[in-house]
Amino acid sequence: MKVTLTINGARHSHDVEPRTLLVHFIRDNVGLTGTNIGCDTSSCGACTVHLDGEAVKSCTILAAQVDGRELRTIEGLAAADGTLHPMQQAFHENHGLQCGFCTPGMVMAAVSLLDDVPHPTEREVREGLEGNLCRCTGYHNIVKAVMAAGGSK
């Protein structure tokens, strides 16, 4: 079946099997590999993208379910001139990434978290990112980065 999505401002139409997951559409059909797959139970959040501005785990949705809607992936977060989004900048400043595998999903989840709670407490950040797993950082600098991006102390 044909699925059309606007991803990072560009329209993408592909013929896919009805069972195609959104994350496979993004990675295999569109070729945007910043969005990663880290599990098979929707536990890790490495595949988090924005669907109409809200963070979703793209492994839990069929591409067909979101036909015609708008997506943003990590590749669409920085400004056109390459300037990092404040969340990307905060992760860089605070060493919020190591191997980088959870990073795209983590950053997308964090951006969405600040949309909902602009100045979160540490507890709010920790609860807000519970669905995004990281094996490298112990979360310490991720939490610090999100707090910094949110102007929280």
Partner: protein, 748 residues
């Protein structure tokens, strides 16, 4: 100019990962892989069985299936991962007539599209003829159920030895416990993957998700019968010790590519990953004896390692535990008995710390048990037994020689930072009030071994535009090698770090390498970069002298300007670009460190335990970790954070569980309780730097330290929280159920 070394330089790696993501094996869009076929494994669903039959006929007719392989089709000899292991315990890349653990690959299906492999796998019918199962290593040690009958034993490595009956003579107090250092899923966020393509010149190009391209060479050469391999490790999404060398699945991928003469790709699922990538797993029988005034006189630990179904590096790790068994303590008599046995579970890999966390967990839990036995504060018992500060090598009763250490200072630093006395007061008042939430304070002091000695390669090339490329035999997967190595190369050349690139993980571009593991990269790889930088500067000085028609001894390198000139007359000079010229300038060298280095530290964990539900909350974690000279404290702290989280996870929630029939009960990330943000606090880090004399940087490893101290610190804190209720021990992970049960049993 102030030195860049020791400063918090932000990682040069970051922008790419933050904007488009890394290029992991599954992300490769290399044209050589265009039209690649996909491999899918059919894995054993039972723990121990003879394969009565494998029917692949329906699968062969499924859409997109190109070929199907079983053991007999591959003609790859089973391999023994280390020569020291029992020779009858070789591992076939696909099961050879017998399966020995759930998840063992039996059949490989090659399909045109990736999803077709999963579909076709459903049609493979394996007829299992069940064999008796042994999951518990203690039962396996009895040799009643044998995994390899021809071996006549389940012991893969090490031997049984009679304990010394006189060891605890003269001790007024003796404690004895059995400790379980549980199996864990290693669970790097990127699972394993491999891509292989036979090139036209007869070579095989292989991309691996591995901690070192060179460490995979030997096993792939043996399996493929060819020396002509080009192995590449692109970005790797975490390894934690378990992505060393080539896996059984990698071997199958490469062999199928060879047989087909076509590009083949494979990426496992998370379920496949946790079924096959596990670490830890020791049963430790510990005894500690001493005087009632707190002097430890003797310590014995009998280590039974659970190697899983085939001995891999995990089977060797009880020996690493043995090396570090006495920890930071000056104990006159130490006896260690160590061996590993095979069981019908996943073959054990190395996992962050690899044998040393197990040593620290044993001695640190036991010393707290000993402190409780004699009624003395656990910090005080440690004070009375720590090896005093030493600057000359210190040899322990098990024969390990530590490089340099100041354990008393580390302990006092952490106690002060934690506010130990105030915490004890708070604890006393909660106990007196009978609060539901009780406070626990746990300590762990540790020393570990990193790098284990060895060599590492570095080459530095300066290009005609004055930029530089560092080639290293180590292999980053999150540790920030590019930034740290560029800082080292920049320091003495004056070439700015943003103009220094890093090449790693390519056997064509880097001739040798030990990869990254055992916290070796900075001390060996970084020292190699430093040594090579010095050689490069000397070489450049000679060249600049020729160009300037000056005496080399008269030339100085102005590192601020990146330019050589005659001392005292800076007008005539040569920049790096000019010195390099059209041909460039390159120097290579190997750095050798004769033996390991011994980072040490002290951790304090503070927990609140809900005495009605057994729920544990880790509220504070304070750490002193001394890894010698820090090149980049920002990166060092990141390593400590990650290590602490993984160590705490083992104490609080993580465990890979099999039932008695060898069925995994935690076979995905929904069931395996991978620690998340909510279970952890932010950590309080205290710096300490005691440079090692073993290398010119003064650096020791930091990759694993956090993990080593954190597990016993958290476990000790949980036991401490309920000690006044009569609880003397709680196994890890300290789940609510275990804590609650311990409280109930103590109150009986």
């Amino acid at each position: 100019m102030p030195s860049i070394l020791g400063t918090r330089v932000k990682r040069v790696e970051d922008p790419r990962f933050l904007t488009v993501g890394g290029t992991y094996v599954d992300d490769l869009r290399d044209p050589r892989l265009d039209g690649a076929l996909w491999l899918t494994f059919v894995r054993s669903s039972v723990a121990h069985a003879r394969l009565a039959s494998i029917d692949t006929s329906s699968a062969a007719a499924a859409p997109g299936v190109v070929a199907i392989y079983t053991f007999a089709d591959l003609s790859v000899e089973p391999q023994l991962s280390m020569p020291a292991f029992n020779e009858a315990m070789k591992r076939p890349a696909l099961a050879d007539g017998v399966v020995r653990f759930v998840g063992e690959p039996i059949v490989a299906i090659l399909t045109e599209q990736r999803s077709q492999g999963e579909d076709a796998a459903e049609f493979v019918v394996v007829d299992y003829d069940p064999l008796p199962v042994v999951v518990d290593p203690v039962e396996a040690a009895a040799d009643e159920v044998l995994l390899f009958p021809e071996a006549g034993t389940n012991t893969a490595y090490g031997r049984v030895r009679e304990p010394d009956p006189t060891l605890f003579e003269g001790c007024d107090a003796v404690v004895h416990m059995t400790l379980y250092n549980r199996r864990l899923a290693v669970a790097p966020l990127e699972v394993k993957g491999c891509a292989a393509v036979p090139a036209e010149d007869g070579r095989m190009v292989v991309w691996l998700s591995s901690q070192g391209a060179h460490t995979a060479v030997a096993s792939l050469q043996a399996a493929l019968g060819t020396e002509d391999l080009h192995i590449i490790t692109p970005d790797v999404g975490g390894g934690f010790g378990a992505k060393n060398g080539a896996s059984a699945e990698d071997i199958v991928v490469c062999r199928v590519a060879q047989l087909q003469g076509r590009a083949i790709r494979w990426a496992e699922t998370r379920t496949e990953n946790v079924l096959t990538m596990q670490g830890r797993g020791q049963v430790q029988t510990v005894t500690m004896g001493g005087t009632r005034d707190g002097r430890i006189l003797a310590y014995r630990v009998d280590i039974l390692g659970d190697a899983g179904a085939y001995p891999m590096i995990g089977a060797f790790l009880p020996m690493a535990t043995r090396m570090m068994a006495p920890g930071v303590y000056d104990m006159p008599k130490v006896e260690v008995i160590a061996r590993s046995v095979v069981t019908n579970t996943a073959p054990q890999m190395a996992y962050r710390g690899a044998g040393r966390p197990e040593a620290t967990a044993a001695v640190e839990r036991t010393i707290e048990r000993f402190a409780a036995e004699i009624g003395m504060d656990a910090a005080e018992v440690r004070r009375r037994n720590l090896v005093p500060k030493f600057v000359e090598p210190h040899k322990t009763p098990v024969g390990t020689t530590y490089d340099i250490g100041d354990y008393p200072a580390a302990l006092e630093l952490v106690l002060e930072a934690a506010g130990y006395d105030a915490l004890r007061k708070e604890q006393a008042s909660r106990r007196a009030a009978g609060d539901r939430l009780q406070l626990g304070i746990g300590i762990a002091t540790y020393v570990e071994i990193t790098a284990f000695g060895g060599s590492e390669y570095a080459r530095i090339e300066v290009k005609d535009d004055g930029s530089a490329v560092v080639y290293t035999g180590t292999s980053p997967h999150g540790q920030g090698h590019h930034t740290s190595f560029a800082m080292i190369a920049s320091e003495r050349t004056g070439i700015p770090i943003e103009r220094i690139n890093l090449v790693w993980g390519d056997t064509d571009l880097v001739p040798t390498g030990g990869g990254t593991g055992g916290s070796r990269s900075l001390q060996l790889g970084g020292s190699a970069v430093l040594q090579t930088t010095d050689l490069l500067v000397e070489e450049a000085r000679q060249r600049a002298a020729q160009q300037l028609e000056a005496n080399p001894e008269d030339l100085v390198l102005d590192t601020e300007a990146g330019r050589f000139h005659v001392a005292g007359s800076p007008t005539a000079g040569r920049t790096w670009a000019e010195v390099a010229g059209n041909d460039g300038l390159a120097v290579a060298s190997d750095f050798t460190q004769p033996s390991g280095t011994f980072p040490f530290g002290a951790h304090v964990a503070v927990v609140e335990v809900d005495t009605e539900t057994g729920q544990v909350e880790l509220t504070r974690f304070i750490a002193v970790d001394d890894a010698g000279t820090m090149i980049n404290p920002l990166i060092v702290e990141g390593q400590r954070h990650g290590g602490i989280a993984q160590g705490a996870a083992q104490a609080l929630c993580e465990e890979f569980i099999y039932d008695a029939d060898g069925n995994p009960l935690t076979s995905n990330l929904a069931d395996f309780t991978f620690i998340s943000t909510c279970e952890l606090p932010s950590f309080e880090l205290v710096p300490m730097e005691t440079p090692t004399p073993m290398n010119p940087l003064g650096a020791k490893g930091i990759g694993e330290a956090g993990t080593i101290g954190a597990t016993p610190a958290v476990q000790n804190a949980v036991v401490d929280a309920v000690a006044h209720l009569g609880v003397r021990h709680i196994d890890i992970p300290c789940t609510p159920e275990r804590v609650w049960t311990a409280i109930q049993e103590a109150s009986k």
